[in-house]
């Protein structure tokens, strides 16, 4: 094998090539400066008393768990955490998943023309820029708006009367297409033999979906729950543009509270600490779903 030794590196084993590092380098540089560093930096800032203006904007210091104890006695923070969980569970986990699945199943069994038209409308709602959704739902829920006329209370501003419900509905309206598309793809990929067998055996439609389709769709459902939770936890634009967290603090979910503490009240350190809680909640939900998916497979 002395001849082979002179022919250069062995080719029978994969090895690291420097050219791959050169291709990764630009992305790593950008991510390093504007993603990884800020993430690490916020891990530090969250434990400081940094402020946007005044003496604390320069002479800030590490304050240990001060921000954590402050949170525990901060009425707005506790309310804000609850609102975030209500928003994510109501609008995303339950609303989006159930309506998305229902739409996917109904569309599958609908007339071709109905499927094309209704499917497109739902998808357009999803593709519209968030600010446009905020505007049309703002109009929809105002006193004298379309919703108030439909419900026969033309002098009720529903964005003031039931603000959390309206922003949750607006968010559901915008995002349900995502779950619908995920479930449509999941349903398309189901083995048809199983469904046909169940139909031949005389199982009712309801029973077929509950006993055959749902268990087969389980991985899709878990993926959908995971993505939908993570996407909705950090929802800012829609709620902020519609209500700025109000009336009072009735729609002040955690992302809005982060913004208010950091950029309105100038408490950058405390604001960052709250955003770390948000990440923690996201990690907790993800862990829960991944465990749930493993335990029963």
């Amino acid at each position: 094998m002395a001849v082979a030794a002179g022919l250069g590196p062995r080719l029978d084993r994969e090895r690291f090539q420097w050219s791959s590092l050169a291709m990764l380098a630009p992305a790593l540089a950008l991510l390093g400066v504007l993603f990884i560093f800020p993430v690490l930096y916020s891990g530090y800032l969250g434990f400081t008393d940094l402020a946007l203006v005044g003496s604390r904007s320069r002479d800030y210091q590490f304050t240990g768990l001060d921000n954590v104890t402050r949170m525990l006695s901060d009425y707005v923070f506790i309310k804000s955490s609850w609102l975030t969980i209500i928003f994510v569970v109501g609008s995303a986990i339950v609303g989006q998943t159930v309506l998305g699945m229902a739409l996917a199943i109904l569309l599958r069994n609908a007339l071709v023309s109905v499927r094309a038209v209704i499917g497109s409308i739902v998808i357009v709602a999803w593709v519209l820029p968030e600010i446009t959704v905020a505007l049309v739902w703002y109009a929809f829920s105002q006193a004298g708006g379309t919703l108030s006329i439909l419900l026969g209370h033309t002098d009720t501003n529903f964005l003031v009367a039931v603000p959390m419900l309206i922003v949750s509905l607006a968010n559901l309206w915008r995002n349900v297409a995502f779950s619908m598309l995920v479930f449509s793809a999941g349903l398309r990929n189901l083995p048809t033999e199983v469904l046909e067998a169940a139909e031949v055996e005389g199982a009712s439609a309801w029973r077929r979906y509950r006993m055959v389709v749902l268990p087969l769709l389980k991985p899709t459902i878990v993926t959908n729950l995971l993505l939908v939770t993570i996407l909705n936890l950090s929802e800012f634009t829609l709620i902020y543009a519609m209500t700025q967290g109000g009336p009072g603090i009735e729609t002040m979910t955690l992302p809005l509270y982060v913004y208010q503490e950091a950029f309105v009240f100038h408490q950058l350190g405390y604001g960052t600490a709250i955003s770390l809680v948000l990440v923690l909640i996201g990690a907790l939900f993800s862990l829960l779903f991944v465990r749930a998916s493993r335990s029963q497979v």
Partner: protein, 290 residues
């Protein structure tokens, strides 16, 4: 009844009416869908009707047709400048993100890199981090470096925040292209740069298009990042401008607001239609979490 008539009646019974057309379940399915569809249609229909109505209000109603709202908006310097800002912001973000994502995704898909799996998991995790966590330290950095209030530096942060998902998406697209052609080219002595340019780029063009369009749609609608990082009126992109108009009751008429958000929405709808031709396979991530 004659024998002929009786036979004809029997024959009519034999003509099978399609089961799904008449069953109560099918009727109910389509009725429910039409009801649900109107829930989705009504809010956006307001925008369309109000945009051509000479006297619109919050409720949806048949318009008294006019094009005055359109000429109003197209004559406003602030509206035009926000379109320009949005184009610069979303365009720069898209170019930077797509180029870096393609470059990074290729070695991640094809070459041997230590800790590749851990790296991809980190990428996936990063794409789930909320922007509200990054915005405070990034704001600090931008103050420190004097980068505030520039569309290009703002686009750089938008690119950084959309890059993890773009890399992940792009890697999946490259994974789907068989590697044999590249191996053959490599054996024939083609350089990596040449393989990338003449083989990988043409073969993954649909994937690159999807990644670019997806990034553009997101950057076009981005709100909090430009809202925090820019302040001069000339640099406000569409979403921030619409938000400001929503807050200034009376200064901006309903009709103009509807026209503005309609015009602002059209580009992303067109791009989505274009992208969806390539996109049909992208939602098959049933087993992505394991």
């Amino acid at each position: 009844m004659s024998a002929v008539e009786a036979r004809r009646a029997g024959a009519e019974k034999l003509i099978v009416v399609p089961y799904s057309r008449v069953s109560p379940a099918a009727v109910a399915t389509n009725m429910i869908l039409i009801l649900l569809g109107s829930f989705f249609l009504l809010p956006m229909l307001w925008m369309v009707f109000a945009s051509v109505d000479s006297n619109p209000d919050w409720a949806i109603k048949l318009p008294t047709p006019t094009l005055a709202n359109f000429t109003d908006v197209l004559g406003r310097a602030d509206a035009i400048s926000s379109f320009r800002s949005s184009l610069i912001l979303a365009g720069t973000t898209t170019v930077v993100t797509t180029v870096l994502a393609v470059l990074a995704a290729y070695p991640l898909s094809r070459m041997h890199i230590p800790f590749k799996r851990a790296f991809m998991l980190a990428i996936l995790f990063a794409s789930g981090l909320p922007v509200s966590m990054l915005i405070v330290p990034v704001y600090q950095m931008y103050v420190y470096f004097g980068w505030l209030d520039s569309l290009y530096t703002t686009a750089l942060f938008l690119a950084a925040s959309s890059l993890p998902f773009a890399i992940w998406l792009m890697k999946n697209f490259i994974d789907a292209v068989p590697a044999e052609l590249e191996q053959a080219a490599a054996i024939d002595g083609a350089s990596t740069a040449r393989i990338l340019r003449e083989l990988v780029l043409p073969l993954t063009l649909p994937g690159i298009a999807v990644t670019a369009i997806y990034t553009f749609i997101n950057a076009w609608g981005a709100f909090i990042i430009p809202f925090v990082l820019t302040y001069s009126p000339d640099n406000q992109p569409g979403p921030v401008e619409i938000y400001n108009f929503m807050g200034s009751h009376g200064l901006f008429k309903f009709g103009d607001l509807a026209v503005f958000s309609l015009l602002f929405s059209v580009p992303v709808i067109v791009l989505y239609l274009f992208m969806s031709r390539y996109f049909s396979g992208a939602f098959n991530f049933g087993g992505a979490v394991k």
